[in-house]
């Protein structure tokens, strides 16, 4: 559940099934219960912090429909910064889906690719590869919304 730094152990986790097929090396089964507990605690913590930020914006008089936007932006900034500093990987090693499923995971995958491919240039690297991992989320989200939107417009 970790996207960044192909040359570190983190990436190995993502492709462990593929890797074991390739090398014949049997990886131990993941500690399913322990991982689920950490995902719950970290995911819950991220959302609890999000709720505090959301309530801050609500208390500043922002309407409910809009208060979510700056909240999301703050978490994207925090995840991007932690990715840049190289800290996000260490958190994600423990938190797993707890930081990958919230918008922090989206921001991490975009930033990690943007930084990783910087060496291939700003155009061919950073800008081209930025959405290499986050792209499917946008594509399938938009396709879903398009189909549902058309159906709702016809009905």
């Amino acid at each position: 559940m970790i996207y960044s730094s192909p040359d570190k152990g983190a990436h190995f986790l993502v492709d462990r099934r593929w890797v074991s097929e390739w090398t014949g090396f049997k990886h131990p089964r993941p500690p399913v219960f322990k991982n689920a507990v950490s995902a719950f605690l970290f995911g819950g913590l991220v959302c609890l912090l999000g709720q505090l930020v959301l309530e801050l914006f609500l208390s500043l008089g922002m309407p409910q429909q809009q208060a979510g936007n700056p909240t999301v932006a703050i978490f994207i900034f925090a995840a991007a910064l932690l990715t840049g500093l190289g800290v996000f990987d260490s958190i994600a090693q423990v938190a797993g889906a707890g930081v990958a499923i919230p918008v922090t995971g989206f921001a991490n995958s975009v930033t990690a690719m943007a930084i990783e491919f910087r060496r291939e240039g700003l155009v061919q690297g950073t800008a081209s590869k930025m959405f290499a991992l986050a792209g499917p989320v946008i594509v399938f989200g938009v396709v879903t919304a398009f189909v549902i939107g058309i159906i709702s417009a016809i009905l």
């Binding site: 559940m1 730094s5 040359d7 570190k8 399913v32 991982n35 689920a36 995902a39 719950f40 995911g43 819950g44 991220v46 959302c47 609890l48 999000g50 709720q51 930020v53 959301l54 409910q64 208060a67 979510g68 909240t71 999301v72 978490f75 900034f77 991007a80 990715t83 500093l85 190289g86 889906a97 707890g98 990958a100 499923i101 919230p102 918008v103 989206f106 921001a107 975009v110 930033t111 943007a114 930084i115 910087r118 060496r119 950073t126 930025m130 986050a134 499917p136 989320v137 594509v139 399938f140 989200g141 938009v142 879903t144 919304a145 398009f146 549902i148 939107g149 058309i150 709702s152 417009a153």
Partner: protein, 117 residues
């Protein structure tokens, strides 16, 4: 719009579901995150996701399923207002923040930080 307890509980449970899919199925993170987005969109079409946001606040707003919900709501509400072309014009109306912030912060982090290794 939720409180810190419901946000913790619902946000935590959504992440547990993602973790279990990752550990127990051959799906990759790309598959799982896409599935959550599509799932959020389908729940959004029936207005269920809005109820979840009302109950759990950030617990439903921060998970990526919220992105699918916002895309569907943008497309549907603009289509209801201006007709079928609204599906195209309204698509990113509500999700602009997330995508713009990810591009801007990702880009500037790439200018500031060097790749590791």
């Amino acid at each position: 719009m939720g409180n810190i307890f419901t946000a913790f509980l619902v946000g935590g449970l959504i992440c547990v579901l993602g973790q279990l899919l990752f550990d127990l199925t051959p799906l990759t993170p790309g598959h799982i995150l896409s599935a959550f987005t599509v799932g959020g969109g389908v729940l959004g079409a029936f207005g269920v996701y809005d109820g979840l946001i009302e109950f759990a606040g950030a617990g439903a707003l921060l998970p990526i399923s919220s992105f699918g919900n916002a895309l569907v709501k943008g497309a549907m509400s603009e289509a209801a207002r201006t007709g079928i072309l609204g599906v195209l014009t309204g698509m990113f109306e509500l999700t602009s923040t997330g995508i713009t912030a990810a591009i801007i912060f990702g880009f500037f982090m790439a200018l500031i930080f060097k790749p590791r290794g």
